[in-house]
Amino acid sequence: MSRLSPRSTWIALTLAGLLALGTGWYFGRHGEAGKGPDPAGGKTLLGVTLPDVDGKQQALGQWKGKVLIVNFWATWCVPCREEMPEFVKLQKEFGDRGVQFVGIAVDDPAKVRQFAAELGLNYPALVGGYGAIELSKSLGNGVGALPYTLILDRSGSISRTQLGPLKTSDLRDIIGQLLAKPG
């Protein structure tokens, strides 16, 4: 930068600034993508209790202290179904190191039970019905689409949210980082 004349530096910075303002304004107006995870959301999520496929009430708080990956999904959502086999693998690989996946289905129990059996789901499938969409919206899912995934560190703070499928490599990186972080 020191090779540029002060005048051209000024112009470049001003242009970059205007671009940044425009981009920020655009995303601020048009989407939720600019919102980072809400630190208070972890508390909300850990305070949630939902029935599992057998109708037994399960409090998410029981998994506090783990790296918790909460995935909102549905059997009618193809991208959701596509990414779940990867979650099953990672649960198997990292389960005994303090990683817990939990699914919250925007669906009815019979369909969830059937799909869980087909897939060999090895983590809890809670059933939230369409009301779970509202819960996900309160946790940063702006447009209310699926899949929506929240990743909590061991202290219960939301470290990452993802609307749309998670890349396996990203998920592995995040799990690694959060396991290395002191609880």
């Binding site: 002060p6 910075l13 970059a16 600034g17 981009t23 989407g31 959502c77 193809v78 609307l163």
Partner: protein, 163 residues
């Protein structure tokens, strides 16, 4: 002077980077805008239900349902054939993209106004699906031989690129 510029540069540089980083997740529309529903009264006993499906989004044909009140439909609405999409889980499914128009014949000539309810379910190519949406529009029916009404939107369309 250089020193001053460098001090200036930090907030500008950060301001430029932060929104770009935040934009990595797919930018998605609210379902009522991705699948914009409108209804136009065609004549005294026909209304046309329309979806303007945003680019990069699609609706499932078999999930589309229509109901009217206070009158009843005179016949089951004829849904145009969709585009076949092979789905790993659901087999071959028919989907709609772009503009979709479906005529709804009403029983008798009810006069007054009619409310059309549409249930739809769709997804975005970006890799998300929306839960079933219920959208509702009320239109006034023209008298026999009268002119068709104006289209009425469930969610008013945006007026420009900037809002």
């Amino acid at each position: 002077m250089m020193h001053l510029l460098r001090a200036w540069a930090w907030p500008w540089a950060l301001a430029a980077i932060v929104p770009l980083a935040a934009a990595q997740q797919p930018k998605l529309l609210e379902p009522e805008r991705a699948f914009a529903f409108s209804v136009q009264a065609v004549d005294e006993n026909t209304v046309e239900a329309r979806f303007a499906i945003a680019n990069g989004y699609y609706l499932y044909r078999e999930k589309l349902k229509f109901a009217v009140e206070p009158v009843a439909l005179a016949a089951t609405p004829v849904l145009p054939p969709g585009k076949m999409k092979h789905d790993e889980f659901f087999g071959d499914v028919e989907t709609y993209r772009g503009a979709l128009a479906i005529r709804l014949p009403l029983q008798g000539s009810p006069g007054g106004s009619v409310t059309v309810k549409a249930e739809s379910q769709g997804c975005a190519d970006a890799g998300v699906c929306y839960p079933p949406q219920l959208q509702k529009v009320t239109v006034a029916l023209p008298p026999r031989g009268g002119r068709p009404g104006e289209p009425v939107y469930a969610t008013p369309p945006r007026k420009s690129w900037f809002n």
